[in-house]
């Protein structure tokens, strides 16, 4: 591996019609880190991830993975979309969904076979869902759906993982399982960029963070970037009492 950044974003602007949703974003994600993307609703977090994946037209800017454009590094990038982005009533099984992670490597027409099934079972075991392989996906709970999506990304065996709200609406047990998995992936040298909504757990879970609200407010190691001032810039004044429990400057009850 070279010293190139896992993800390198320069001057990224994404617009919806005339209105910029992301404005002039610069970001460098070194390899092997677990990085959160936080920001208020409508800040463009999902848009940012989708722009990185080439799912949205980019108005300006440059995105590179390990010093190569997205098209050339696609097989090294795995995506975990929001759980609500698909119809969980679709007639298919858990194992089938996980095997979809191999479709890209399989290429056109070739069917998934024994090898793909084994890989899918291994991935399901890693997320603690091996007993559910034959289940129909409509029988899953929210946390189980989330873990199926994680397993689907695992079988991609990627170097970079982009995840959109993997902790959204899951119970405490699943949250534990997910963060353990993310840490294990990091210790394997993989890079993870995770859209996250729970400010209380940012310091515990992540080693880097980007604060986003249309523009990049701050990014870097959590202890440097995740400051009250930066949070206030990102969220507006409301944030002060949200953090009052665990920050030194909590004695500011005058928050509007």
């Amino acid at each position: 591996m070279s010293g190139a950044a896992a993800i390198e974003v320069r001057d990224l602007t994404v617009a919806y019609r005339d209105k910029p949703v992301l404005w002039d974003i610069d970001l460098t994600v070194p390899p092997g880190v677990l990085m959160a993307v936080v920001g208020p609703n409508g800040a463009g977090k999902t848009t940012f991830v989708k722009a990185l994946l080439g799912l949205l037209p980019v108005s300006a800017g440059r995105i590179r993975f390990f010093d190569a454009p997205y098209e050339a590094s696609r097989q090294q990038i795995a995506y975990v979309p929001q759980r609500g982005s698909v119809d969980w009533d679709f007639p298919t099984s858990v194992l089938d969904v996980v095997m979809m992670g191999r479709y890209g490597r399989l290429g056109w027409i070739r069917r998934p076979g024994k090898r793909e099934r084994e890989q899918a079972r291994d991935a399901l075991a890693r997320v603690g869902m091996d007993a559910f392989a034959g289940r129909q996906i409509r029988q899953l709970s929210g946390g189980q759906q989330q873990r199926v999506f994680l397993a689907r990304a695992l079988v991609q065996d990627a170097r970079v993982y982009l995840m959109d709200e993997p902790f959204q609406g899951v119970d405490a047990v699943t949250e534990r399982a997910v963060i353990d998995l993310l840490r294990a992936l990091r210790s394997e040298g993989r890079t993870l960029l995770v859209v996250h909504h729970d400010l209380q757990t940012v310091e515990e879970y992540f080693d880097r963070v980007m604060l986003l609200n249309v523009r990049r407010i701050a990014s870097g190691p959590v202890e440097q970037a995740f400051t009250t001032d930066n949070l206030r810039l990102t969220y507006g004044g409301r944030i002060a009492f949200l953090r009052s429990a665990n920050t030194a400057d909590a004695a500011d009850p005058a928050a509007p």
């Binding site: 994946l53 799912l55 129909q136």
Partner: protein, 368 residues
């Protein structure tokens, strides 16, 4: 002679509508799963001017020429819908309705004009409105089977890509699979499935052949390939029944009869399918309600026993009833539990059996 003729007609009618039912049922599965049921309606209505123009240009009513005209018009309409919704603010459903009626209107104008200009020789074209299965001959069946079979073969070949398109197209794009091209392929297959049914079912009701079999099939299974098979089977069954009925009783157009048969199949599936069917749901709810009541009584008996540090100790029925509302039929529930071997009659009333004790203990663990 008369008998032989009608036999041949019936055979062709059955064969043709079976082919069409299998193809439209199979491919309709994807349209229904993707929430694109109305696209089929737009394509079939849009095909009418294609049929009329093909007749005007070639002057013949050979099925192949008319089908190609219909397919081109349906395909054009789809592209038009897709490109307008992508580039303007007009919504998808508005665009469907608009395209459907504009193309259909154009088709009606052309048909009227042909009728006035060419006189009786165009009689065949009017059947494209509501369908006429009894006019099917061998070359029609062949003209339906070849493109229809080809469409089904392509569906099987691109099974994995189509499944991904229907379930999670955006994820498919991140895998590097060209989902847009897969989408166009599916649309093309849908156009084929619709076009081959126009002569038999007619443009007005053809979309039911796409939607109804899949909607019925969905009720019976949660496995995609089973749903495709069932849907194809339902399509064939409804198609053949309706077409036979219309051929026996002359004068009744085929399309409406087929649609009525499909409607009956859908209604039956909505009602009787084991898991999703209304009947099954109601039965299951009642069964569960009874089971929950019995479990309550079992746990009550256990709790009463535990008050004496002996879970197996019998208690009178009145003591159990006193723990619950008056209208809970404790006597019936105890009888039923007795039959299941979970409680037994004893000197002091009712007591748990060993099996009943084990069951109560598992329940306590599960429910806490």
């Amino acid at each position: 002679m008369e008998h032989l003729f009608s036999d041949y007609t019936l055979r062709m009618v059955a064969l043709g509508s079976a082919v069409l039912g299998v193809v439209s049922g199979g491919l309709g599965t994807y349209a229904v799963l993707r929430g694109q049921s109305l696209l089929g309606d737009a394509i079939s209505h849009a095909a009418l001017p294609g049929v009329a123009l093909a007749f005007l240009l070639t002057g013949s009513k050979t099925p192949l020429a008319l089908m190609i005209g219909a397919a081109l018009a349906g395909w054009l309409a789809t592209l038009w819908i897709l490109s307008v919704t992508e580039t303007t603010r007009i919504k998808y459903d508005s665009m469907l309705a608009l395209t459907l009626s504009v193309f259909f209107g154009a088709g009606l104008v052309l048909l009227t004009w042909i009728r006035q200009r060419a006189g009786a020789s165009q009689a065949g074209l009017d059947t494209f409105l509501f369908g006429q299965a009894s006019s099917l001959v061998w070359r029609d069946v062949v003209a339906m089977a070849i493109p229809g079979g080809g469409a089904l073969a392509l569906m099987l070949l691109f099974w994995k890509e189509l499944k991904l398109l229907a379930f999670d197209p955006e994820y498919g794009r991140t895998l590097g699979l060209p989902m847009r091209r897969v989408d166009l392929l599916l649309t093309a297959l849908l156009v084929v499935a619709i076009v081959i049914g126009l002569q038999t079912v007619g443009v007005v009701l053809m979309s039911a052949m796409i939607v109804a079999p899949a909607a019925a099939g969905r009720q019976w299974t949660d496995v995609l390939w089973k749903m495709v098979l069932l849907s194809a089977g339902f399509g064939a069954a409804g198609g053949v029944t309706g077409a036979m009925l219309s051929s026996l009783e002359t004068g009744l157009p085929t399309g409406p009869l087929i649609v009525l048969c499909m409607g009956a199949i859908v209604a039956g599936s909505l009602f009787f399918a084991p898991n999703r069917g209304l009947l099954g749901q109601r039965l299951r709810r009642r069964r569960n309600a009874g089971r929950f009541q019995r479990e309550t009584v079992l746990l009550d008996l256990y709790a009463l026993g535990m008050q004496h540090a002996d879970p197996l100790r019998p208690h009178p029925q009145g003591a159990v009833q006193a723990m619950r509302a008056k209208d809970l039929p404790v006597d019936r529930l105890l009888m039923r539990l007795n039959k299941e071997g979970l409680v037994r009659r004893a000197a002091g009333g009712w007591g748990l059996t060993d099996a009943g004790l084990r069951h109560a203990e598992t329940l306590r663990k599960e429910r806490q």
